[in-house]
């Protein structure tokens, strides 16, 4: 099939068109090598997380042989490619399973924060007036906290668990998202198509969600990538401080916390989880940079 007929056959409206445009913008990423490297890193960890049961050589939580150095052969067959930790758990398997933990909680927390942030931002920007005043003041106050102090207070009072981490992240980062959305809405709400929708008699929420929000998606996608990186850092830091997910399930920050006392004699125990978390964050940050570069070009 030659390309010109392929293009003419493409649907011009509805979900098909949106999907096609989405695929095309991923294709555009080729033009930015920074973005490509980022996309590759993220894709790598997503695949690792999906195929974790197939890739992990050992069970991540069972104690096999303590203090094994990297590349050491296991007594019962197999190799500890990255060594084992102080309780004898295979580090490579824990890193592989840990990618699942991070790639479930981080996007989930980001999604929750975005849902709350977008609704607040739409309401503040579109309604204006006292709604805007109240929501903006609330956002200012939450944002005036040093982030980690806020997390420590929240986790200290409601306890450390997966759900509570999501609640804490939503609480702390939705005001930032709200500010961005509010700014975009203030710019978009005076456009002709918004006026047209209002004249048609569409409800406020329909105008906000169907007319305004899709047109604000560009900057929001870039911000979401950056924010995913921050959320991964947050989850890692909370794990490192001992405020993260409860043991024994592997979590990269928690792995560093458990073994850092032994870093002197066994640096591999802390070093590999650090490299894993940094490479995933780097992936999201480079992807965001690539997307921004492309969005600025056209």
């Amino acid at each position: 099939m030659n390309t010109s007929t392929a293009i003419t056959k493409m649907p011009t409206a509805g979900y098909g068109a949106a999907l096609w445009r989405g695929l095309k913008s991923i294709g555009l990423l080729r033009e930015s090598w920074v973005g490509m490297v980022g996309a590759f890193l993220v894709l790598f960890w997503v695949l690792v997380a999906i195929f974790a049961p197939l890739l992990a050589p050992f069970d991540p939580n069972s104690s096999i042989q303590p203090f094994a150095k990297p590349m050491m052969a296991a007594a019962k067959g197999g190799t500890f490619w990255l060594g084992t930790d102080h309780i004898g758990r295979d580090i490579l398997s824990r890193i592989i399973w840990g990618s699942r933990t991070v790639l479930i909680y981080a996007p989930l927390a980001t999604l929750c924060a975005y849902t709350v942030g977008i609704l607040m931002g739409l309401a503040a920007g579109y309604r204006g007036g006292w709604v805007d005043d109240v929501l903006s003041r609330i956002a200012d106050i939450i944002l005036s906290f040093p982030v980690l102090v806020l997390y420590i207070i929240i986790i200290a009072t409601i306890g450390a668990s997966g759900l509570n981490i999501i609640i804490a992240i939503t609480f702390a980062s939705s005001p930032g998202i709200m500010r961005i959305v509010r700014g975009l809405v203030l710019d978009l709400r005076n456009r002709d198509y918004v006026a047209a929708a209002q004249t048609r008699g569409e409800s406020d929420w329909k105008v906000m969600l169907v007319e305004i929000l899709p047109n604000a998606r560009g900057p929001l996608i870039v911000d979401a990538c950056l924010r995913l990186g921050y959320v991964i850092i947050t989850i890692g830091v909370l794990g490192f401080l001992g405020l993260g997910l409860p043991p024994p399930d592997p979590d990269w920050g928690g792995m560093v916390n458990e073994t850092r006392q032994m870093a002197m004699a066994f640096p591999h125990m802390t070093l590999f989880p650090c490299i894993a978390i940094s490479s995933l964050i780097l992936g999201f940050n480079l992807l965001a940079d690539g997307l921004r570069e492309i969005s600025l070009r056209d």
Partner: protein, 311 residues
């Protein structure tokens, strides 16, 4: 200008009152669990808890307790720390001083470094130097503080044996012990300031008056130093002030990692030990520092920017 300053300071006080209310509700009321159980531990019985509540006035109405609590706070009566068995102020002040020393050295190195890198990459947007500095900045901000602390200490402490691995200063103040914590903070934070400086510089470089200066044949160096820099450095001023907020988060991780006896480690210790009086005081101080620097940043920005100052 005056109304703006008054407005900003008013909002600052308002923020601190709301924050104190949030802290009070979270830590001192039954909203998030029984405070008596939190202080006395899971295994205390109801009788002990009731006695504790009676002793510490927890049976009074919430509103009255809040007013009393706020009054104590305002008059400097911060209460007793359970963990350190002493007045909160005595525990907190030396720790604050230690963190101020760490913060000072971090800023003293980070600000010139990030401004120079930001200006260099913003001078010629899209150049090879610009792209390298940008990617390097992204790389360093992608490594969380605890990860770079691990990487640096395995390199400089275990590998090369140049620097001590802990910074507890147990044998008196030693500058050598300050190097690694400051380095971790600088590496994590400088990328952001550099990026903001770059954006501001790049914007100024495309402005009409810089183009005029170039076209009338001024030497490139004097265009940059005399014309571009003065305007390009207004925005980074705000960013640097706001960076203090980030630094307060960063010191928690770094001080915990290197066992540095500072304010950040104290907040963490207070929360892990359910030392509520200490946690409240630390959180209030942290928010006060953050809000004050934000206010100063806002006022300073309008003061530095003549377009706003004279309007």
């Amino acid at each position: 200008m005056v109304t703006l300053v008054v407005k900003r300071i008013g909002f600052m006080i308002f923020t601190m009152i709301v924050v104190s209310l949030i802290l009070f509700l979270l830590l001192e009321t039954e909203l998030t669990g029984d405070p008596a159980a939190r202080v006395l531990g899971q295994f205390s019985n109801e009788e002990q808890r009731e006695m504790w509540r009676e002793q510490h006035g927890y049976n009074q109405p919430v509103f009255l307790r809040y007013v009393k609590w706020l009054g104590n706070f305002a008059t400097g009566n911060l209460g007793e720390s359970i963990r350190f068995k002493g007045p909160v102020a005595d525990v907190m002040l030396p720790r604050l001083w230690n963190t101020a020393i760490l913060g000072f050295w971090t800023f003293a190195i980070m600000i010139p470094l990030s401004l120079i890198l930001g200006v260099l990459s913003g001078m010629k947007e899209g150049s090879k130097l610009d792209r390298s500095i940008s990617v390097f900045g992204i790389l360093t901000t992608s490594v969380p503080e605890f990860a770079s602390a691990v990487i640096f200490s395995s390199l400089f402490v275990f590998g090369l044996k140049w620097l001590p691995g802990t910074s507890s200063m147990s044998g008196g103040f030693e500058f050598k012990q300050l190097i690694l914590p400051a380095m971790v903070l600088i590496v994590y934070d400088f990328g952001y300031v550099a990026r903001m400086t770059r954006a501001s510089m790049a914007e100024v470089m495309t402005s009409q008056y810089v183009r005029t200066a170039v076209l009338k044949g001024l030497p490139y160096k004097s265009v940059i130093v005399k014309h571009a820099l003065r305007n390009a450095l207004i925005a980074p001023f705000t960013v640097i002030m706001l960076q203090i907020n980030w630094l307060l988060s960063g010191v928690i991780v770094v001080e915990f990692f290197f066992a540095y006896k500072g304010f950040g480690a104290l907040i963490l210790e207070a929360s892990l030990n359910n030392d509520i009086a200490l946690l409240e005081a630390c959180a209030m101080v942290a928010v006060c520092v953050a809000v004050t620097t934000q206010t100063l940043a806002d006022i300073g920005y309008t003061f530095l920017n003549p377009r706003i100052r004279f309007s």
